[in-house]
Symmetry: C3
Subunit: 489 residues, 3 copies
């Protein structure tokens, strides 16, 4: 049986265009060398991570204890976010029966590249020192870099199984770049608040991926239909990713909110919203099937929609029951999306969305942006206190006199900016990806790790000693059997 693990597909055309032995190493080396040079020119430790700087900072700020270092406020959340990016997103994308290596492996590759590029891009836009010309980084920069990657990883969800790793590197290069620009517009120019990134991460990432996928539409994708689905164990691997995303989402949304009550409240709101979302997801999933059976795809994905939708408003005083209401609605909307909208988009709009990011990121993200706008507009000094209102919405300096309803309007405008950047950027990147030199698989070779990975032998070929020997003997005697095993393996 061992001799048939070399897949038949290899003897035909498809594997020709998946040849990445030149392009992938070239891209990796060129970009990584560029990173070395750019980091050498631009990136330095900030005053809380620099040895000399921290001693001076403590003196100048009259701080006696090291525990006041921002590190201790942010590090636990940072590690949780890091787990979400690599295990959360990575394993969530292992659900396909024969694309688990690609799901978790390419996620690993592009996140590792993306976070370096993000440190540079976000640094140039947000923290470039005009005097020294340097970007200083600390723990908050690392969190932001992880966030910035998330946008491109979300886009990967729509493209899963249909693109080459080289294409994914390009998606990430442009994704991170676009992210930094739209983030600058939304957070700095429009001065929106978006700690958990409903707008800047999820709305942008979702529409970015959908637009790319729309440009890359494959009319004959059903040739790979046999591999576009899960098996029992691949669904369990995906559940690992899903649960780590679900559990750590409170950390995701609170990672860069204000110290103290800000982080505290964000965690409570996200936690409650996610819990409520699970119940409505189960309910709709069961109602959506004739026999009332639950669908693992919904449980894995729709139960996360509340985290996405709370990205903007979780740090506001949305109240505990407000959070639950948002979660309640998101579970319903997202599961409906998986049941009816994704098939509709594929059939009518020619939009192939492997992971259903439309229902998990694009729509809940957009919703979260508008919920944030409403909650911001409704904020009063009575609820937040004078100090609290200024701190929560950053209404100091030139934004001192902005009214809360104006803030709400800007929040809504920010959401529209994120959608626009996603759609326009995605269409442009999509056309770049259509050049025929990036090594993407043919239509009948999608969703198959065979294209880019040395695969181990199949599971069935673990023979016990005795049978193994018998088998070896029989193989040369019994033609019937060896033919048969070829067909069934």
């Amino acid at each position: 049986m061992g001799n048939c693990c070399e897949r038949a597909g290899n003897f035909f055309g498809p594997q020709n265009n998946t040849y990445i032995r030149v392009s992938l190493p070239a891209v990796c080396f060129v970009w990584q060398i560029a990173m070395v040079i750019l980091f050498g020119v631009f990136i330095r430790y900030d005053e809380e991570s620099d040895e000399k700087g921290w001693h001076e900072f403590k003196k100048s700020h009259n701080i006696t204890s090291n525990i006041e270092n921002d590190f201790y406020f942010r590090y636990p959340s940072f590690q949780d976010v890091h787990v979400m990016i690599f295990v959360g997103f990575g394993f969530l994308m292992t659900f396909l029966k024969r694309y688990s290596f690609g799901g978790v492996g390419f996620n690993f590759l592009i996140a590792a590249f993306g976070l370096q590029w993000a440190l540079l891009m976000q640094g140039w836009f947000h923290s470039l020192d005009p005097v020294t010309g340097k970007i200083t980084i600390g723990i908050e920069s690392l969190i932001n870099a992880d966030f910035c990657c998330a946008g491109s990883l979300i886009a990967y969800g729509a493209l899963l199984g249909k693109v080459s790793p080289v294409q994914l590197m390009i998606v990430t290069l442009f994704g991170v770049t676009l992210f930094a620009v739209e983030e600058y517009i939304i957070l700095d120019l429009l001065h929106c608040r978006d700690a958990g990134g409903s707008m800047v991460i999820h709305t942008f990432g979702g529409y970015y991926g959908l637009a790319i996928s729309w440009v890359l539409y494959r009319p004959n994708l059903n040739l790979s239909k046999r591999l576009n689905g899960s098996v029992y164990h691949s669904d369990l691997f995906a559940m690992i990713g899903s649960l780590f995303l679900w559990m750590f989402w409170p950390s995701f949304n609170s990672a860069i909110t204000n110290h103290g009550a800000g982080q505290h409240r964000t965690v409570i709101n996200t936690y409650l919203s996610l819990a409520a979302c699970v119940l409505t997801t189960f309910a709709i999933s069961s109602m959506g099937q004739k026999k009332g059976k639950l669908d693992m795809v919904h449980i894995q994905n729709a139960s996360l929609a509340a985290g996405v939708a709370m990205g903007t408003s979780a740090e506001f005083m949305i109240t505990p029951y407000g959070s639950i209401i948002v979660g309640f609605c998101c579970g319903i909307i997202s599961t409906f999306g998986y049941l009816y909208v994704t098939p509709f988009l594929e059939k009518r709009l020619k939009l192939q969305d492997t992971c259903g990011i439309h229902n998990l990121h694009a729509v809940p993200g957009m919703l979260g942006g508008f919920v944030g706008a409403v909650v911001a507009a409704a904020a009063t000094e009575e609820v937040y206190g004078k100090e609290g209102l200024v701190e929560t919405f950053g209404l100091s300096g030139k934004f001192e006199n902005r009214s809360m309803s104006t803030q709400g309007a800007y929040q809504a405008a920010g959401t529209c900016v994120a959608i626009a950047f996603g759609l326009v950027g995605g269409v442009c990147v999509g056309f770049i990806l259509r050049f025929p030199l990036w090594g993407d698989p043919a239509d009948d070779f999608c969703f198959d790790d065979e294209a880019y990975w040395e695969l181990p032998e199949d599971e069935e070929t673990i023979p016990p000693v005795l049978e193994y020997n018998n088998h070896m003997i029989n193989k040369h005697q019994d033609t019937h059997e060896s033919q048969f095993s070829l067909e069934e393996s």
Copy 2:
């Protein structure tokens, strides 16, 4: 082969009573809407998570730094506990070969409901403000809510594979309610200390589950015997759950202990006890088999018993070697339980305990309660210091004059209360679950995800391109083969 993944069982009776398309969504919606209303009426942010409140709190308590917010003392432990509840308990219950979806999925559902209900129930009993009529919540409330769920998740361990999700929602509704009451009696009225919940969580949860299972005894469960076991990969998934429980148990026990030395010492004690437990578990597991081979069931479960048993005493000055002795004994007792007691219970007491919670939670929990009583009774001012003794055992206010031996006696009494609540509550809930309308599976349809989940096609049906096509051609020609593949798939 694709055509035989629709299991034969579907064409007979069993699936009729597993029809949950009405009942599950109904329960989810009704209870979640109730949550929205009750949260709206009762739940508010506490002074450390409320924007205005925290600014006032800092002023009134003369706090200068945000790092003094309880959030920073508790958040890392909270996230670890959260992982234990959803990945730990969830994946530990994936060990059955065809009930992994149900194990991790229903755990997800009931924990998500349970924690909302727990915030309300625990709030009413512990932190209802008599003036405003509101419950204020903060990070410690979230930890307690997770703890409260754990009781019901433990009970699920005894019922795994034999009940419907609707029944589990009922188990959780009553489980959380009973938990809040017994917790109030044990911690508030008897004024016991039980930070890691040997009594209130594990003893209660264990006996609660056992009592329910006893009432729901299925005489013909051996009709499902073929599915009541693990396969190689399902044991590995279960090992993920087991290890996350084992690793994070120090966080579980220390999550709500006193700031400073209290949390610090609890971690050390739990860590040591768990390490010792592993060695004796391996030893007894090997001794218990004729050929000296190890059993994965013991490794996955019995190695955790020390965490359970240290739930009460880990915050006391039990000494490092005291912790190791507790771990040493627990590994032996729990593994013996799996080897001899569980089969005995099933045969003689008609008690079907799928996960063996008797050995992992009920007995070690009870043991932990009594160990805690002894250690409390032995506490002296010499060891704890005057301040320390008062702080560790909360001996202020009306408990100021309680002697340590009295405290020990109350601790022992608390354990008995937990057992009583578990047994009586479990029997009552068991009878409620016997109503024939909850959609539980027939005796020959237990331990089977087919009952409640849309399952993906079988693993073997991933054909390579060429063989797939051949197969499609042959399918219509060769009757021998298609018949054969039906039988073997």
Copy 3:
């Protein structure tokens, strides 16, 4: 089919010598009882975890807040390190198709023993109070104990599948002992800095394992060749371990560095280095195969090499781009190692290294030691500040006048000490393991969980009800089929 899961191998010789029903329990019990006694004699809580001690410490140090307890500086990192030891190392070793139980299970056993023994050994060498004769432990001791285990777990990587659990307990007993001695020489006598253990953990552990494996060379290991490889799902399990190691390595390297900027900077450096390493690993992995396909072995292992190599220098002011350069080189070196050096070592040096620890730990660790030496030698007061230089390199007391170039020389010497201890210690332990009474498997029975574990039935034997019954009927009628199923299972 169920009848052939009792492996054929059992009916022949091999299983005789894997009989561990006496030796494993004996070793576990004797050593665990020894731990109880030694902990009783020596181990006490330190002043930050002792109830009375902490109250006195706060008074004497004029500390007002519990947040100053070292616990809050170290605990999040500790839990991450704990995850790396048990899930990281454990699951990384599940990659073999039929040795996953052994990989994760024996890792669990020896780490649980090793950490207890490490608390004693490290305590005797580093923190034995000469007056009271006691060792006091706190959270930093637990981290160090986990670190100390890591040395032996690395060695296990070279031996995976070829030794018995009893042998592994011996490897750990001596491994931890040797570790404590070399650590004392390197950190205390030579006064090197090695917070993340490039030298003391990885270099030592790597060469220790390689030397043992070299002594235990099995000329006929190719008899077990059919099991010395992965299957699709076992590679995914290994990826869980790999990713948790990768994500938490910043915590590993920063866990015991200086409070404040020290921990902060270590995290940044490790994070960047690991990201760069991923890109070069993918590049070389693709270049190393004729068709440009990626190899999961490289992705799982070589991408971690940067974490190993940053163990010494991450806490220094190596600069962000310095970190990226180290990561860049490590990805290349380590992947080359997997492609060419491991096969060479096996063929020419008779060194069988199952997990390739030569490329993941030994060489990157050594490299990290020398990088650390260079960075230390280049340290200046201008960059670190006067205070910072003293603090970072601990240049107080009798080391007050040591110049930075001298420090660099000592760092380099420390690396050589680690290599020497690993090689000499490993050879000695290897000869001890060659006594024929430890229950190791025969050459044709390696990499097989069958030797030490009760295995569940095979996956294919999950028949649906109908087919199950048909199968049972056919089994007795149709000889053709039953013969066939025997051969193919």
